[in-house]
């Protein structure tokens, strides 16, 4: 057994790491819940967003947290356009085609990035990247604390949009009852694109939160999306609250298994737990949807 002195910091750090996982999972589960497709381009789009955050810093000298203000609306528009003008027309309304189209997009984006930037791994140096907050019993890395705070704010905004605005209600209506929504005058093609845009915007924010402490190369996003898939299944496919709780939970699992099994095996814990959940609670840990 380990003493609380070691356990508490591990849990707190796990929660902080989990917040960014939750954000990536949020985008994925939102798109799944409304369009009923698994977006295979999610990882490539995260990578693209990380490159964008990297170059906005390198070329414009913009701090990644400020870059988020610029990149979030930009990626929303990009995601909107991608769904409306590429994915939907290419899929001809067939769900399994959409799957293939997003897979194709992932290949194109990844190879485009590989062609443009090679397989090199890039990092940026920020003076606050290694700064810590001393809570007495634990040191917390500043970028992680910032990320946690931002994710909480994003979740609150998203909750407000989904439950209090007409567009949010329209999104929930389309998710559950597409024909009823169409006959109420909701433009389903538009709502699909808005949802895809929101999912992509989540990635832009996640990228800006990751880039101060993480590296970017043409594969960088995939590691996060693999974990995000796990979270989406854990939280219940399509459940926004499930993605958030699942993300935090997975962060803690990773941190604790790192503690017990050794740093490099931290993610092993996630996948062992994932298999256990699939075996015993195949509908996810929390159930409820959108």
């Amino acid at each position: 057994m380990l003493s609380p002195v070691i356990l508490i910091p591990a849990v707190l750090n796990g929660l902080l790491i989990g917040a960014v996982y939750a954000l990536v999972a949020l985008g994925l589960t939102l798109i799944y819940g409304v369009l009923h497709i698994i977006n295979f381009a999610h990882g490539a789009l995260l990578t693209a967003a990380m490159f964008a955050a990297f170059f906005v810093h390198r070329l414009l000298g913009l701090d990644p947290y400020l870059a988020a203000v610029l990149l979030t609306p930009l990626f929303f528009v990009f995601g909107y356009g991608l769904q409306r003008f590429i994915i939907a027309p290419a899929a001809h309304g067939e769900d399994r085609n959409i799957l293939l189209v997003t897979l194709g997009l992932a290949v194109i984006i990844e190879n485009g990035l590989l062609y443009a930037f090679r397989a090199d791994t890039r990092t940026i140096n920020l003076d606050y990247a290694f700064r810590v907050i001393d809570l007495g019993i634990v040191f917390l890395a500043v970028p992680r604390v910032v990320a946690f705070g931002v994710v909480i704010v994003v979740a609150l905004i998203l909750w407000f949009v989904m439950s209090r605005t007409d567009t949010g209600r329209a999104i929930r209506a389309v998710a559950k009852e597409k024909l009823g929504a169409e006959l109420s005058g909701i433009d389903v093609a538009h709502i699909y694109a808005v949802t895809f845009g929101l999912g992509t915007a989540c990635l832009a924010i996640a990228a800006c939160l990751l880039i101060p402490t993480y590296y970017v190369n043409p594969q960088a996003g995939n590691a996060f999306v693999l974990i995000a898939f796990t979270i989406v299944v854990l939280g219940g496919m399509g459940s926004v609250a499930g993605a958030l709780l699942g993300g935090l939970f997975v962060g803690v699992v990773e941190s604790l298994s790192g503690l017990y099994l050794g740093e490099s095996l931290g993610q092993l814990g996630i996948f062992v737990m994932f298999i256990l959940v699939l075996l015993f609670r195949p509908n996810g840990l929390f159930g409820e949807r959108i």
Binding site: A175, A181, L183, S184, G185
Partner: protein, 237 residues
């Protein structure tokens, strides 16, 4: 005579390669209640889907208030005031009664949403009591009220009701037909698709009989009620 509110002519459509509607002609004049009757699988709901823009016409024309809507999206058609309360209610089960009603005014009449909600609650006091209840937990009859209420929120010029009496108790069916008359008296034109022949013919000004995707009989309700072909078309005798 004035231009009809809805004019369908030579409408052909179907699913995949299967033709269901084989040249349908139908008109609804302002202020009328028009009934479309026909047995299961005759193509009534298919006709409604085509009129609402959910299903693309293969050929023929659909005109609403003198505008060709045959190629328009469902949302645009709703915006023009052609509202359908579909078969099977299609309410939003995960949302409250109030949210369901408000979404009825998503495209049209949004500025008058509060007033219209009040009007719907006056017609269906049951819905007012259950404003904050999730729609999926309403009884079947309450769900049907909600579906009609949601349709009324958009201030329809033409309201299409697809089998609204399905699954209602005899008492509620009586109330429903009284409501249909009342809605019509308030100036809303109605296209009523029903299995309930006797009561539909009672409230309708004119009726059409659809059989195998084509209109086989049309006219005033008394003549149609007495027509020996009705039983054949309807009961498949």
């Amino acid at each position: 005579m004035a231009e009809p509110v809805l004019a369908v002519s030579g409408l052909r459509t179907g699913y995949g390669a299967t033709e269901i509607l084989r040249g349908v002609d139908l008109a609804v004049n302002a202020g009328e209640i028009v009934a479309v009757l026909g047995s299961n699988g005759a193509g009534k709901s298919t006709l409604n889907r085509a009129i609402s823009g959910v299903l693309r016409p293969w050929s023929g024309a659909i005109r609403f208030c003198d505008i060709d809507i045959g190629r328009e999206k469902p949302a645009t058609i709703v915006g023009r005031g052609l509202i359908q309360v579909p078969e099977g209610r299609r309410i939003f089960p995960n949302m409250t009664v109030r949210e369901n009603l408000d979404l009825g005014a998503y495209r049209r009449a949004r500025p008058r949403r509060e007033d219209n909600r009040g009007r719907v609650f006056a017609i269906f006091p049951r819905l007012a009591e259950r404003q904050s209840q999730r729609a999926g937990t309403l009884s079947g009859g309450e769900q049907q009220m909600l579906a009609i209420g949601r349709g009324l929120m958009a201030e329809p010029i033409l309201l299409i009701l697809d089998e609204p009496s399905l699954g209602l108790s005899p008492l509620l069916v009586e109330e429903l037909f009284a409501l249909i008359k009342r809605i019509n008296a308030e100036g809303i034109t109605l296209l009523l698709v029903e299995q309930n022949v006797a009561q539909s013919l009672e409230v309708a000004h004119r009726a059409y009989i659809l059989e195998n995707g084509a209109i086989v009989l049309q006219g005033n309700p008394t003549d149609i009620g007495n027509d020996p072909n009705l039983k054949r078309a309807y009961l498949g005798l």
